[in-house]
């Protein structure tokens, strides 16, 4: 279902990138070519930093781009609650506020993840019936991309939260990967019944209860199956998901470093590397796909997309595309319906005492 062609307003927290606001704005400019004409961008950040960039860039200055001055910036080292509550005039806070007040349809930020998650939860709240938000990442698999969540929004997950993540992730996989019935797998150790731990047993049983109309549950999967495209949506709690995500990201960087070192070890290898340099470039792009430069924080009342602090302009452009997709497909409405249906099955009694 595509939303009719109303104005789409994207809030951009322009200050949180490791590469500075220029890279973020270059990413927005790249995206502008590919977004619908009716898209407005609201840039949150220091006017003295942003204005010269916009004015010197003909794509930005000729587009529907507005700057909202924010006197503060949330730093990468700030603690979640303190960073948000202590800096009410930061680009992140004010951008979240504009989402809350309906002035924007989606927010993209490369800033401090903890602060963005805390800010999202505090300012925007979760959708009715959703207990915890979940951060949903897209990964490259052997044959195609897949989603993994929760990548760290909720490290104290109960089975019910993980089940809701499955519903959230299925909706995102439909929008971002274009799948009709994405297969969901629950990440565990050993796939025989009885293996894993109590959280897994309970979650597995609840996922089976909502299998069918709400999600397409394919059962338990192990760590070695993640990249094998056995499923399209890998669900796990935020503790496991965050560790696996960060370990895998840093392992692929390490392999890149090792490869680089080995290729420079002598002249013969260097010559070979020069001839096949196209292969290394393609490899990098396959492992770190720029079109999926953003990870949505699912389960909130609004669309919030987190991009990596180190995102380049291509990643930012990819993240803008994701933000637009979520708005255009009106994912929030579908998520709300699915969550209500799942809750009716899993928790038929009125939800009063939680």
């Amino acid at each position: 279902m595509t939303k009719p062609e109303a104005h789409i307003r994207l809030a951009i927290d322009a200050m949180g990138s490791d590469l500075g606001p220029n890279e973020v704005l270059e990413g927005v400019a790249l995206a502008i070519d590919r977004v619908p004409r009716n898209t407005n961008f609201i840039l949150f950040g220091k006017k003295k930093d942003l204005e010269p960039i916009v004015l010197s860039n003909s794509i930005l200055s000729n587009s529907k781009v507005e700057i909202v001055h924010c006197s503060e910036v949330v730093g990468m080292e700030e603690k979640p609650i303190a960073g948000i509550k202590g800096k009410k005039n930061s680009s992140m806070s004010l951008a979240l506020q504009s989402l809350k007040e309906g002035e924007a349809d989606a927010l993209l930020s490369c800033g401090n993840t903890g602060c963005l998650m805390a800010g999202g939860a505090i300012k925007l709240r979760t959708l009715e019936g959703v207990e915890r938000p979940a951060l949903c990442t897209i990964w490259p698999g052997r044959e195609r991309y897949f989603t993994l969540l929760d990548a760290g929004a909720n490290p104290h997950a109960k089975p019910f939260h993980i089940v809701q993540s499955a519903v959230l992730g299925s909706n995102y996989a439909r929008v971002a990967l274009g799948l009709v019935r994405p297969k969901v797998g629950l990440l565990t150790i050993g796939t025989e019944e009885g293996k894993g731990n109590e959280v897994i047993h309970e979650t597995h049983s609840m996922l089976k209860d909502i299998d069918g109309s709400i999600i397409n549950y394919a059962g338990l999967i192990e760590g070695f199956q993640i990249f094998e495209n056995v499923v399209d949506v890998v669900v796990c709690d935020g503790f496991v998901g965050n560790i696996v995500l960060k370990a895998c990201e840093s392992l692929s960087k390490l392999i890149g470093t090792f490869l680089d070192e080995e290729l420079r070890r002598n002249t013969l290898r260097k010559t070979g590397a020069l001839l096949s340099k196209g292969a290394f470039r393609s490899l990098k792009q396959r492992i770190n796909p720029e079109q999926f430069g953003g990870a949505p924080l699912l389960g909130l009342t609004k669309n919030v997309i987190k991009a990596h602090g180190s995102s380049n302009r291509n990643h930012i452009s990819g993240a803008v595309k994701i933000a637009l997709d979520l708005v255009q497909h009106d994912m929030l409405t579908q998520v709300s319906q699915d969550i209500q249906e799942a809750n009716e099955i899993l928790r038929p009694e009125p939800l009063t005492n939680r």
Copy 2:
């Protein structure tokens, strides 16, 4: 402390490898060149399979190699308890039995991991004061190797179990990596106090209590720091450890496949790859180091080493070296002392009701 030059007897479960008993025995033959003369090998398996291999291999037939006939083999698909209890005459069961009865000092098996862990726990029991065994793996880091445990022996870990893993892993890092005071890190998400979950908070506090004489605790680490050699011993529960291990193993295989595909895409790339093929060989060896072909199941009364089902002869030879190191350094005695000391600090009351 090196054990005096008594006989060392290694039990080898010769039947569990995906590549068949020949590869296991070739690995033993490779190792024989490098082990002390006083090492005896006891091969457990089907006599009709093993005898021809030993007789046709001059290294094996000229060494202290004995075959113990076992009529059964534990399959890769068998369930842990059933595989061990149902097949009392399997090479794995009889090899464990020989350890239990003091006929061997260490056991090496490439067989079914679940069965080996169950068999170790049932037949050998844990060392006095140790509540749960832990599987300890060695990984390549940016500058040097490090250990990670528990890789899956105990998926229901309580803080006390994770703390004991830290003690076990420190001892193994001393022996296998030659470190005097290996640094221990607790794997979590976010390293500020208060992040993570309750298990992490409690474990962190207990690790601080035994920091100093028993372990060298360096604090919390995140997933992206695993490979950065921030610490030498990464501890986590068996659920997280198993998932991270398997995800990382399969990711490095996937990157290998992607690289291979990209290098074959056209003639120029193929030519380059041919010139730099030495680099790819070195890369593979750095990521999958053969000298650490085995992972010990720590915390048992005896030395049990698990090798990958797909181990080649070089990995087997590496695993034999690990088994010998554990025996020669008399790691079990040191572990017992450290565990007693840690328990006196953490649980000063008599351990009766657990």
